[in-house]
């Protein structure tokens, strides 16, 4: 099983035994109340230089509350995993919070593209699917998983994948290395105080992201009784022992939507696009991040209850989201 080709991209890889050792000692199996403010969660669990992963999208069930808090606290040199990414990678880059990106899809608008052209951001090339597969490998505790994507392309060349000859069938196949992010950020519909969490609707990879990540911050639109979790165990997306912090954050996905609960704020995104095109994301960040002390203050002072009510009102499709 010779290595036929190796991508030249730099990549984050942690030996599975090192990951196991972390999971043994840092992921408490105790039933303790993990609810904290977004400020405390980010303060305790996101450090400069961390590799950060996110689920699912800035438009849909994304932990935007946590992204804004990371920016507010001035984190630097994050290595950001841009799988199914949109607004949040752009905001992190505009704020100077991240210096490296694993590219699945780059962001919303040209800000990030320009930053790469100017050499301000270093990138490695992947795809949405292979970045998600790397999380699955990380979540399975194996060093790699095989895939028939990437092959034959420059995407592979600038990734960290390797091509080997399959020892069973003899054909070339790509192996992608596991990734175990330092931090996983996931917004959910419901969680109990211990961190048992439920996401409704399709999703990119909430469970893989939670299982693979060394530190996991959940933001949730609702806190539910632990007993409710036990009444419908099939609904549990993430078990509590994978979770380090639970941030109670109604409208935590704002300006994105939470399916069945509130719609995305189109007007907000229109304003964002306009400022992004003008290269004026500083003003956007000032308004929605730096000039407010918390998510709650942002919602109250920059969005307002009438708008929030309207976003909830527009979420008329409830089927399947409970």
């Amino acid at each position: 099983m010779d290595v036929l080709e190796s991508g030249v991209g730099e990549f984050r890889f942690t030996d599975p035994d090192e990951v196991r050792s972390w999971m043994r000692t840092h992921k408490g199996r105790e039933f303790v109340d993990k609810t904290v403010s977004e400020a405390e969660a980010v303060g305790r669990f996101v450090a400069d230089g961390d590799y950060v992963s996110f689920d699912f999208s800035s438009f849909t069930r994304g932990p935007l509350v946590l992204i804004r808090e990371i920016i507010r606290q001035g984190r630097r040199d994050l290595w950001y995993c841009a799988k199914f990414t949109l607004m949040e990678s752009t905001l992190l880059a505009a704020a100077g919070a991240c210096s490296r990106i694993d590219v699945g899809f780059m962001g919303l608008g040209d800000t990030l593209n320009r930053a790469v052209e100017e050499g301000k951001i270093k990138v490695s090339e992947w795809t949405n699917g292979t970045l998600t597969l790397r999380h699955l490998a990380g979540a399975m505790g194996v060093p790699f998983l095989p895939t028939r994507a990437l092959l034959g392309t420059d995407t592979l060349k600038y990734s960290g994948a390797k091509v080997v000859k399959d020892p069973f069938g003899g054909k070339p196949i790509a192996l992608v290395p596991a990734v175990n992010p330092d931090v996983g950020l996931i917004h959910v519909h419901q969680a109990d105080v211990y961190g048992n969490a439920r996401c409704f609707g399709p999703g990119v990879s909430p469970l893989e992201t939670a299982a693979a990540s060394k530190k996991v911050i959940i933001s949730t639109d609702e806190i539910i009784d632990h007993d409710d979790i036990r009444k419908d165990p099939a609904k549990t997306t993430i078990p509590y022992y994978m979770v380090d912090a639970v941030v109670y954050a109604p409208f935590g996905a704002y300006p994105g939507g939470l399916p069945g609960v509130y719609e995305m704020d189109f007007e907000h995104f229109a304003g964002y696009y306009a400022q992004e095109r003008q290269g004026n994301l500083k003003a956007y960040l000032d308004k929605y991040v730096y000039s407010v002390g918390s998510h709650l203050e942002m919602l109250e002072q920059r969005v307002g209850l009438a708008r929030l009510n309207d976003l909830r009102r527009r979420a008329t499709v409830k089927e399947g989201y409970r």
Partner: protein, 264 residues
């Protein structure tokens, strides 16, 4: 193109016509979504759309809501809601008949670039968003349809960066030699002026049809390489009244997608 059709409307209508009923189709973000909904409203009501975040078989509500690919309108009344690893597994195992993708740049062998222009990967002349899920779709689906604006700079002899695989260097069996699934590859390229396929032997892009009112030469003149030309080039009817009515009144009255025209 009739005088008031937009280029987007033409591309979308031409693409929608390619999608058969009761087939599975892996649908990319934006224009492919609108084309798939149009196909469902006309000849393919039971087209099984599949999205990379895991929705299978939705019947999207209209008006189409731009951006919320994962939202309730777009995922309405699906057959199943899964996840990205699950849905790419299903594509990898050969369950997806079509893949429908947008692209920034393409070459004569159908290789797609949505990553960058220039020589230096770390300092590109121009950087684009990257693969998203396109590499997987172009690798796994049986018939990949690529939908793009017909602009000279988009049809180049050799892409600067192969983001998603076409027929690679065009040599027989090149995809299979690389390890890609057998018998896959780009099947059609739909533009605002024409429809292309790929020659079975040479794997070169081949002009199959041109929009009514255009000559093949006019179409080829706006490409930076010379495609092969089919012995008989089909005349493609512009969007029908029914197609336009559905697009304009039902699917995208705000014209966020169908209003787009070439920048060139």
């Amino acid at each position: 193109m009739t005088k008031d059709d937009t280029e987007a409307e033409v591309m979308i209508a031409l693409c929608a016509r390619l999608l058969e009923d009761q087939k599975t189709a892996f649908i990319g973000f934006g224009m492919p979504q609108v084309a798939a909904i149009l196909a469902q409203r006309i000849q393919a009501p039971q087209l099984v759309q599949v999205f990379e975040f895991g929705a299978i078989g939705p019947t999207p509500l209209t008006p189409f809501v731009r951006n919320t690919m994962g939202g309730p309108s777009n995922c309405y009344r699906s057959i199943a809601w899964t996840s990205m690893n699950q849905i790419f597994a299903q594509a990898q195992i050969g369950l997806m008949d079509y893949g429908v993708l947008g692209a920034t740049q393409i070459d004569i062998y159908g290789n797609v670039n949505s990553t960058m222009l220039g020589e230096d990967y770390q300092r590109p002349k121009k950087r684009f968003p990257g693969s998203g899920g396109a590499n997987e779709v172009a690798s796994y689906c049986w018939k990949t349809v690529i939908i793009m604006m017909h602009e000279k700079r988009r049809f180049v002899p050799r892409v600067d960066f192969v983001t998603s695989p076409g027929y690679l260097d065009g040599m027989p069996g090149a995809r299979e030699r690389a390890g890609l699934p057998a018998d896959t590859g780009p099947w059609r390229v739909v533009t605002s002026k024409a429809l292309f396929g790929f020659d079975e032997d040479s794997k070169k892009m081949t002009l199959l049809g041109v929009l009514r009112g255009l000559a093949p030469e006019q179409v080829v003149a706006e490409m930076d390489f010379k495609p092969l030309v089919a012995r008989r080039v089909e005349e493609l009817p512009p969007p029908t009244e029914q197609e336009l009515r559905i697009l304009r009144e039902e699917i995208d009255p705000a014209r966020t997608i169908i209003g787009r025209t070439a920048k060139a």
